[in-house]
Symmetry: C2
Subunit: 377 residues, 2 copies
Amino acid sequence: MDLAPGYFRHLRIERLQRRSAGQPGVLTLSGGLPAPETFPVRSLGRSLTGLGRDALQYDWPEGRSGLREWVARHLRQRDVKVEHDEVLITSGAQQALDIALQVSTEPGSSIGVPEACYPLALALFRARGMSPESKLVDEATEYTMPAVENPTGCALDPAERVRLLARQRLILEDDAYGDLRFGRQHPPLHASAPDRVFLIGTFSKTLCPGLRVGWLVAPPRFRELARRAKQLSDLQANTFAQGIVERYLAAEDFEERLVWLRTFYERRATALVDALRKRVPYLRFREPEGGFSLWASLEESGEDTELLATALRHGVSLDPGSDFRSTPGSRGLCFRLTFSSLPPRQMDEAVKRLARALAEHRKSARERASAKAPVSP
Amino acid sequence: MDLAPGYFRHLRIERLQRRSAGQPGVLTLSGGLPAPETFPVRSLGRSLTGLGRDALQYDWPEGRSGLREWVARHLRQRDVKVEHDEVLITSGAQQALDIALQVSTEPGSSIGVPEACYPLALALFRARGMSPESKLVDEATEYTMPAVENPTGCALDPAERVRLLARQRLILEDDAYGDLRFGRQHPPLHASAPDRVFLIGTFSKTLCPGLRVGWLVAPPRFRELARRAKQLSDLQANTFAQGIVERYLAAEDFEERLVWLRTFYERRATALVDALRKRVPYLRFREPEGGFSLWASLEESGEDTELLATALRHGVSLDPGSDFRSTPGSRGLCFRLTFSSLPPRQMDEAVKRLARALAEHRKSARERASAKAPVSP
């Protein structure tokens, strides 16, 4: 494995983000993290009681059977035809994606990705020797987040959904935000093509990420390979965390929690959208339908790392768009805005600061443009 | 990734082991698991109290800094020159090994392994497209467990240690049992060659495996790559488990625990060795110096999956040797005997059953041999 050429730019961004994470004055529109105030700390704590010594011991690679049963039942409610022994418990959705890749793709091949794509999927594809392409490549496996995309917060376009299903190719379906659509729920693509869709899910967005519990449902012919790949990667998912989640799910009404979470995040999304429309009307974005973020772009081009630095100086953070792009964007400057981390009452202040940062950025972009323009005689 | 040719034999073994794991009558000389009665359940429980919401949130890929500091201090006591920012927290030793492989080796290359090798290292090497060789291959990276080998329970031969260090090759040093030598402690190879040794460690044997907390110290030139490989594999090790272990280590005397653990497992090792010498004097093995197991062989050859089936019929389990071999063994039948899982008072009964199983196996081996011998005129 080598570090991809874009990695050092990414490191600059990470350094800026890390520094700002320690500054209490910065309002967070970056990171795509779930709101810690949603973590069910007390119920998770109660679930600890009564966990036996087996929750500290090694376990089989596929995970705890009670948890696999719950995941299968949960997916069946969304029309996925799946039995508990088809569910592999993973160390989060990222590992589920890595395992799906390991068992189904070859280094050197192409993988279809959305134009704005989850950065650690892009980076993983490159690290595993694959070439991510946002233009259609006929023979390629597709990576997609059909229910709610990260970063856009929107569902896959219906025509694109039909096109994807019509092609007889493998699909890596990242359903990390599938339970967090604000409106009508969508059945995963897996429901329509179980023999060629890898379905990837996680508790990171709906319970908490620190426990690292996710899942993978692989097409039947890849199932044993996936179990073996999981074992060779890290033996098994954390037994202790699996035990906590299993007991939590047995004791609590998770569907009720989802209804509450959707309202919780929708309020934040609405607050962000309203503030953006009011304070930066020239910013282009689609209204999010779920998840934690939206995808914004400016007509002006420019260096997005600089934009981040400017924003941080004004007391607000955002995620530069270059990490989300399979090819360097030729058009305007893009960035992700996360609404999940800020209470609605702080959203307007955050966007006020963002507006100031964008104004400064646009002004210097115009100055640079006019400095380059030929001097009139 | 494909399933290796030996995988289906391995699956037969796994099926037998799984069935026996559910039978309370079977005495366990297999599995290589730590004894659950050593897990510090109450102290770990106390360490939970006071963990904040940040222990349920995402974290940076390298892991919690307090934990990294502890690991660095602990390694310095064994002459490893290492600072906390050189320690990467991993999801157990298996993942540390996978990351070391990912960043430093190429598919198609050879990797030197011990003649009897930890099976999930062997299988991992094969899955990553490498060819494990127990005969010397000059240009190869070496995988080794110098302090305590699994399965032998013995240190690397001193001459071999010198030879390994004299070669200017990369070394993957699996130190999973390094803290569990019964007698004199050994400094890791990393202490002598930090620029080309990947040092791999874990809390799985000394605290408990279910939390999946291990570490990797990579040579400086691979450090950033390793951090990135960790992030792409599963973002980060379980924040919650890291928090528990960090607090546990701050509150308890871990060195005292190690002294106690060594005595605990040495008593079991002695009980196994004594019983074997008394009841199966023809069995060949070296007395273990640490760890959880020893490596035994019979002069008679035969099918080791059958031996396992016979042993289970007699109410005792063992680990067939074929999983531990990089090339099918030409000589006698080998198997691993685990002493960590049985209290000393049950060891003699377990070995009595093993003796009966071995007697039956040898008898049928002799019968097969004489049936094949030319009939005298």
